[in-house]
Symmetry: C3
Subunit: 450 residues, 3 copies
């Protein structure tokens, strides 16, 4: 029976948390940017778990209003004093170089070097993350403490990088579904040594994809691992003819820290995915909040641009800019935990479970309540005060299954969880008290569910 | 003039409270269930005040998904010890036997008897109310104190009841109106010795019906006194062809206790009756609250089933399950008061008054305000700060009587009572400043009202 | 460039506050009523600043449900004791005579005079303001202290007034715009020696009109200075055929006191002017609140009558009846300040600025975000947490400029000020990233603005 496929889907496989944390650890040392070998290596490592289709978009390719930039690669970079001692060293952290810095090899006084040095505005021992993708420049990032140690002398400044024609790389993985409609999961892969932003997103989505392999779902699930902004724009431009297949979408990022969940709504705020994610968070165990859409953040802004208006929301834990370690060296391996990665995966699985199992059912005995007692669905002795969730779910499904609402709509109106309502629907279906409009079968997750 | 008919309608006749309380006292000793002679006797007593049409629906009659069960009657029941002393005695309270218990005559050890004994989970000296309508069984209800006194000996257990082909009984009373549209008032009559639930509903609706006799109202008022669930389902199934006449409906029950009012909205939550009842409660003297519809409670669930979707709300004081005495022997003559029954009747009368008087009127002088001063409708000396309710009602009616709103809509927007607005409309009508769309006369309650 | 016309429009000319206060001082001694020479003199003084077109509507003219009354003029009035000493003297304050009192010349005992004497109900030394426009009568207003001094003797009572065929006078001033659509500003001119109610409204609207002269605006701005109620009704009746030109309207009155702003919404509460004024107040410096429409107040009730339903809101500071000095001699030159008049004028100018500059623009590069960096519109180094208002405004305009929203709609959704959004739109327009549907040019205030 197909119900078995999704039974227990909401529960991640054992050791998922550990496995995701180990992936984060493994990806951490690589120097990623919006192009280059760091991105390729990252995608190769992910491919060991789910075989990604790798796409290379050549430098100079127009993608909507943008053009794929030259490819950036870096081998080494440092600031050394007159004794040759490296005071700032790319070898210690890829954050030390402003991303996309042009090659440099010079001797500079501190005074001339100073405008090229970026420090964290608040924390003396944190190295900030800075980029200069589309403005040809170079620079170093270091801690305030490092800066304070720089004397007024001449420094050897080296950025052994290349900025040359090449390509932008992204990876895609598809779990084929029964119908043409797709669910899109997107995460950005362009940040260097930052764990929550966004090795967490890579880890959770790659494991989510693996969980769905072999489930033969209703929807086709498409996972895109691409650089931020230019990557989603390139993907959109190259898939323009098939965007209307996207029924629901979610940008997943920043999902490894200890904060609760934040869901950022789609541009319209009224997409089905908004309702689904909010339901899952409401019935979950962690604190959560909802943000209205705004055109600032991650790739949801591209999916929500006025020409595309795709129903793509965004799931994070603490969102961009809202935690002190954001975009600094403190977004490290200590900031994310296996437990939180696991709970984020479970949340994504619950979202999939609702998407798969939601369905519009119709009461076959709609005049008055059907007699549940003779079907063994109701307690035998009456007169008690209150009904339990199971009985309430039965009554709500019967009352609301009039063809205008799905099981999720019913659950939200009843204040019950989707899974309680789906279980009740399954029981009623077995008794012949529910039907579909079109002779469709009862959907898996509506029958099963953990 | 027809206005006289409804003048003072909102005020119950003197001694209504006492009369209702006396009816509760008289009905209290009868053993009611969903069928049987207790129900028939109850309806006969009500018929002394309003001549009910009694309907008998034979056992075995299919009514939607249900079948009319066998008729249950009981003559005697007890648990006696070896000395013949009756430790639990149906003669003392009809609550002592699980409703619809099959006949029993046996000698049982305490151990064997124990699973058949039901006590109140919280209160040691209360007897709970339990039923087993559709599951053939038997049992006794007793207090925890009574149970504690039972020694480990053999008991004589007798339930002298019959469960045989017969019929289900309900009563109906109609006050004919000018047009075909109906207002339905329903109350359940199946509970034994419980005063608030629901001798209070029987008392209030029978007196409401009596108040309406001879008023020649706009609507036809139909009062149905029937057993819960199976009774409303039977009534619906037998009246299916005429359900579209029901313009507004109200289940009235649990209206004698000392709590404020609770109104439970119709399934859609947007029916006219919702607006009417909430207006009446808002402008009444007692505390009140509103509940969303849910498919758990009394017969509103049947009227609100997805195949019928009738605009039927529910008015109670403290609702089912929300007072400790609910469904126990403590729901007795001390729980209900003549004063509260009277105020419940007044509230029902106010609801009828709004239903009768609400009307869509049109300002005949809609450009700018008409000059009220020369018509004697406005104070003579100007410059004062504030207008009183009467003047505000005049201004609101004139401003809003544009054909898109009824007097009730205007009252709600203005924050004034329907009766203030109706009185203003009456004054404006007399001056020729209002008309109806269709040449209809000004409605009674809009003119009169106490 | 036309943008220059509205650049800085939001800032009143220097000394506007002083100029408005001086106008209030000059108008204060005149005895105004709904007709008569006091009104004419008031309009003549205003005409020295903006040349009003004066309209005279003859006594007896029907205007909707009303008739223009006889004209009232007063030369002198007093209550004198037997020694000839004037105890109440119109010469000291025009408030001392009930407005529209018929002529009187009599000797009366205190007992007979007493019913004709009006005092302030709360404040012993304040003289109240009373009228008897449409009920032929006479009376005096005096302070409680003055009343206490009246002994039980015979008084000489003189009201040297005339109530004769004449006309009702109102003034109009028009700033012609590019198109046929009009913005209406209305203020009442019928109150005697009351500064806030409503010399403040006269002062602010006459200065607003002067500011708009020569700006060649998009809308035609029509300023109407007329008596309350009968004046707006007369104006409406005489302009019935052109009322459909009124796109937005505002009654401005009581705008000189020290209170924050109160905006009273149009009858529908959903007019564009409601959104505009609330936006301006939300982004202004003063406290403010919004009131729902009600049919009590000033001339907004006439514009909002059910036959006309014009989109006319009302802007005051402390509204009618909500300050203790209202309609009394304490509404004097100390109650209003040049500073508050100036801030009221600035608020009106900001409202005009939004009305002029609001526009529906369309993103020409709607798929994904356009690349702002290469157009010099975005900071060069990335990675910082937060975007500033300017960058956010750019992103919001791009995201929301889909042809379904105006700049004001975008500003409200973004939580930014209209002027920030208009400035961003101007920058994007210059880059070719925005267009209009119809080839229209970018509107002035959207480009400029202070």
């Amino acid at each position: 029976m197909e119900s078995a496929k999704f039974a227990g889907l909401r529960q991640p496989p054992p050791d998922s948390g550990t496995s995701m944390y180990e992936l984060v650890e493994r990806l951490y040392p690589l120097c990623r940017s919006i192009t280059g070998d760091g991105v390729r290596q990252t995608l190769q490592i992910v491919s060991q778990s789910i075989p990604l289709e790798i796409h290379e978009v050549p430098t100079g390719t127009p993608v909507y209003d943008w053009t794929i930039p030259r490819e950036w690669n870096i081998r080494d970079a440092y600031i050394a004093d007159s004794t040759g001692r490296r005071l700032v060293d790319f070898g210690r952290s890829s954050l030390h170089v402003v991303s996309y810095s042009v090659p440099v090899r010079a001797r500079l006084s501190l005074q001339d070097l100073r405008p090229r040095l970026h420090v964290h505005p608040q924390h003396a021992d944190w190295v900030p993350y800075r980029t200069s993708y589309y403005n040809e420049s170079w620079g170093f990032c270091l801690s305030q403490n490092q800066l304070a140690e720089l004397r007024d002398e001449e420094y050897e400044v080296v950025i052994d990088a290349s900025l040359e024609p090449g390509s932008l790389t992204y990876g895609e993985f598809v779990v084929p579904g029964a119908g043409p409609k797709e669910v899109l999961f997107f995460t950005h892969i362009c940040h260097p040594a930052l764990c929550n932003d966004n090795l967490s997103g890579i880890a959770v989505l790659s494991h989510l994809a693996k969980c769905l392999v072999g489930t033969a779902p209703r929807y086709t699930y498409r996972f895109v691992f691409a650089p931020g902004t230019i990557g989603s724009i390139a993907w959109l431009a190259r898939n323009e003819g098939r965007l209307d297949r996207i029924e629901h979408g979610l940008v997943v990022a920043l999902v490894g820290d200890r904060g609760g969940f934040t869901y950022k709504r789609t541009r319209s705020g009224e997409a089905r995915i908004d309702k689904v994610v909010e339901h899952v968070l409401r019935h979950g165990r962690e604190s959560w909040e909802v943000q209205a859409f705004s055109p600032y953040g991650y790739d949801e802004r591209q999916f929500g641009s006025p020409g595309l208006r795709l129903p793509v929301g965004r799931l994070t834990r603490t969102p961009n800019g809202a935690y002190p370690e954001y975009h600094s060296s403190a977004d490290d391996l200590a900031l994310v935990t296996a437990e939180k990665l696991d709970a984020s995966l479970a949340t994504c699985l619950a979202i999939v479970s609702v998407l798969e199992g939601d369905q519009c059912l119709v009461n076959t005995s709609p005049n008055g309540e059907p007699q549940l007692g003779r079907r063994g669905l109701y307690r035998k002795v009456g007169g008690h005060h209150a009904s339990d969730n199971r009985e309430m779910a039965l009554l709500w499904v019967l009352n609301q299954a009039d063809g205008s609402r799905t099981l999720l709509d019913i659950a939200d109106r009843a204040g019950l969880s989707f899974w309680d309502v789906a279980a009740a629907a399954s029981d009623l279906w077995e008794c012949g008290l529910l039907k579909t409009h079109d002779g469709e079968r009862l959907r898996a997750a509506a029958r099963g569910g953990a």
